[in-house]
């Protein structure tokens, strides 16, 4: 038979994940992406096991320091207005901020992806209706909407000390609110990509062999918007952390599970800025800035790398 029949271009064992390996290697070459990833990994580790680093969360009861003491060797970041170790609080705060960010992102991206893909692929009236709804949410100011919704939903749900996955109900509410208010931009972006994918030959081929819209959306559209979803999710994560911070800062957070935003709020209320007790609020603020910055670095690196135009055809 013709020689081309036996020709295989690579001798290595084939793997579904080889494209991933190549991608990780290319990512590793980007200084911005690696810096961002390093910062996120650092905070992620802190968030997962804060007790390992600073012991259990200090409460008013277990506080040992004096009021608003400046940093010493015993309290490297000083104490807050009730004598708690600020370092302890900041490290534990990472947990809340990161987890809320993660959950909120999942909710946002899930809603956004489903609506984006369905609207983009099905088109017609369905698309019209979905996009009008999306546009409605798109133009509402996210934060104002969150501000209004949070106390309403908290009232509905009851702000008792119920917990889901170790997160108190009040924070779950924040997750839901962020999800509701942020999904629309994701939906728009994903819909755009879906529209262009829909015209491609492999989608035509799937139709010709008899695949229904569900199969095509799941097996063909979704895997090819996944890179966009990931890049978008990273930025949504940053936004979620920021939104949670702000909500907490205006008092809608949970004082028993302090997030960075909570700490900032507490510091403001205790008059720390006026007393120039910078250690009470600067660390938390710095962490927020670092995390958001890290996300944008990673997001920008991903965006560049996943840009289809950069992918050379073999």
């Amino acid at each position: 038979m013709t020689a081309s029949a036996a020709m295989v271009t690579s001798a290595r064992r084939p793997s579904r994940w080889r494209p991933l390996g190549g991608f990780l290697r290319r990512y590793a070459r980007r200084r911005d992406g690696m810096l961002g990833a390093a910062i996120l990994v650092f905070f992620g580790v802190l968030a997962m096991a804060p007790e390992l680093f600073v012991g259990p969360l200090q409460t008013v009861v277990t506080a040992t320091g004096g009021r608003l003491q400046s940093p010493t060797t015993e309290f490297p970041l000083g104490t807050d207005h009730v004598g708690r170790d600020v370092l302890n609080l900041v490290v534990h705060g990472a947990r809340v901020s990161m987890i809320i960010g993660l959950l909120a992102t999942v909710v946002t991206v899930l809603i956004g992806a489903v609506i984006g893909v369905v609207a983009g692929f099905v088109g017609g009236r369905v698309d019209g209706v979905l996009m009008r709804i999306t546009d409605f949410f798109l133009v509402l100011p996210t934060f104002v909407l969150a501000l209004i919704l949070t106390p309403i939903i908290q009232d509905l749900v009851g702000s008792g000390s119920r917990e889901i996955l170790g997160i108190r109900m009040t924070l779950i509410v924040i997750v839901v609110v962020i999800g509701i208010t942020s999904w629309s931009s994701s939906a728009r972006i994903i819909r755009g990509q879906t529209l262009s994918l829909r015209e491609r030959a492999f989608v035509d081929r799937a139709r010709v062999i008899g695949a229904g819209p569900g199969h095509i959306m799941l097996k063909h559209i979704l895997p090819n918007v996944m890179n966009l979803i990931v890049a978008n999710a990273v930025l949504v994560f940053a936004g979620a952390v920021l939104t949670e911070t702000t909500l907490s800062f205006v008092g809608l957070g949970d004082p028993f599970q302090p997030s960075w935003g909570q700490l900032l709020d507490a510091a403001r209320q205790s008059g720390a800025p006026g007393l120039l007790a910078w250690w009470d609020f600067v660390p938390a603020g710095l962490c927020i800035v670092l995390v958001v910055f890290a996300f944008t670095l990673v997001g920008s690196a991903l965006d560049d790398l996943l840009n289809p135009r950069r992918r050379a055809r073999s």
Binding site: T2, A3, S4, M7
Partner: protein, 351 residues
């Protein structure tokens, strides 16, 4: 337009030198840490008024050769060796500024895929006028008038100059590209697959236009294409390239009438010809080598039905035969009589 044989030569030109002479051209790409030996020892010559066709399949280096001539290589490519002599002036080593006197004014290029080469937000007429203003220092109004002249020359009504590229059909766009190449009255036009994306009737029109321009303007033409039939119909001489090297070169009548190199024979045999009886079409099993790791010896040897031991170890020297054909194949050693070794048709490769 300048009548044939009355062009004003550039300052450093040597009037006795051939129009274009390329010797030992080597252009390499850097891909990460590896080198792609895209063009690896190509020589040819173009005389005044001549049409030379450079033929080969994808990856043979023909486009890279063309880009080397006009100095439009991508940033990761370099001419590492060889000379490109225009009227005896070597362009190979020159910098961007050094080439500016010659690019477009002596050698111009019609690119593949006119839609990508034309600026979608500028009118055709302005794009044609641009090099006239920039290179020749002509005023804008005069340049636009000349652009209109050029449009008429290539068969586009002058009024259509106000159109944007997307408003023109494929054939018209290609004509516009040709007009743009003619803007500074060059001596040589290089056409890189100028008719590949076009319907056969439009292709015939464009080729016919190029022939007419050659006659009227005394243009010399380098036509780069994978379509040997197009070369057979329009060119005087043909250069067959394979994997960055020259396989065979000579007059079209000679090379196509009595092909010598096995690759030429197989390639000619693989083309369907509507004007003859239906026959077995040739196939060349395998594919061209990865030019990061070119095989030692003859680069066609892995796929050649007539490959001998020496082919795998020694690079075949280029031999000029009695009828003027140049061929690089061990079947035709220096001093041999150069009779074509005809391969039996339908024989598959010896990989």
């Amino acid at each position: 337009m300048t009548a044939p044989a009355e062009r004003e030569l550039p300052k450093l030109a040597d009037p006795s030198a051939p129009l274009l002479e390329v010797e030992g051209l080597r252009t390499h790409f850097k891909l990460g840490r590896e080198t792609v030996y895209a063009v690896d020892g190509v020589s040819f010559r173009l005389d005044r008024g001549e049409a030379l066709g450079i033929a080969g399949e994808s990856g043979c280096g023909k486009t890279t050769t063309a880009l080397s001539l006009v100095g439009l290589l991508p940033s990761n490519a370099r001419v590492v060796e060889g000379s490109i002599r225009l009227y005896g002036i070597d362009l190979a080593g020159r910098s961007e500024t050094g080439l500016r006197r010659y690019r477009w004014r002596e050698i111009a290029m019609v690119f593949q895929g006119a839609m990508n080469a034309l600026n979608p937000v500028r009118r055709i007429r302005d794009q044609i006028a641009e090099p006239i203003v920039q290179r020749l220092g002509t005023g804008e109004r005069d340049a636009r008038r000349k652009a209109g002249d050029l449009l008429e020359l290539v068969g586009i009504p002058r009024e259509r100059g106000r159109a944007y590229p997307h408003e023109l059909s494929g054939g018209m766009r290609q004509r516009a590209m040709i007009a743009m190449a003619l803007a500074c009255d060059p001596a040589i036009i290089i056409g890189d697959e100028p008719t590949t994306a076009l319907d056969v009737m439009i292709q015939a029109q464009i080729l016919e236009l190029l022939e007419r321009l050659r006659a009227e303007l005394g243009l010399s033409l380098i036509l780069i294409t994978h379509d040997l039939s197009v070369i057979a119909e329009t060119c005087d001489r043909v250069l067959i390239m394979y994997a960055g090297r020259v396989a065979e070169e000579g007059l079209v009548a000679e090379v196509f009438g009595h092909p010598r190199h096995p690759y030429t024979q197989k390639l000619l045999g693989a083309i369907p010809n509507i004007h003859v009886e239906r026959r077995v079409l040739e196939t060349i099993p395998g594919s061209p080598p990865d030019l990061r790791y070119p095989p030692p010896g003859c680069r066609f040897a892995p796929r050649c039905p007539a490959a001998m031991e020496v082919c795998r170890t020694d690079v075949p020297p280029e031999v000029r035969l009695a009828d003027g054909v140049r061929v690089a194949c061990h079947l035709y050693p220096q001093g041999g009589d150069g009779t074509p070794v005809v391969l039996p048709s339908g024989e598959s490769g010896a990989s």
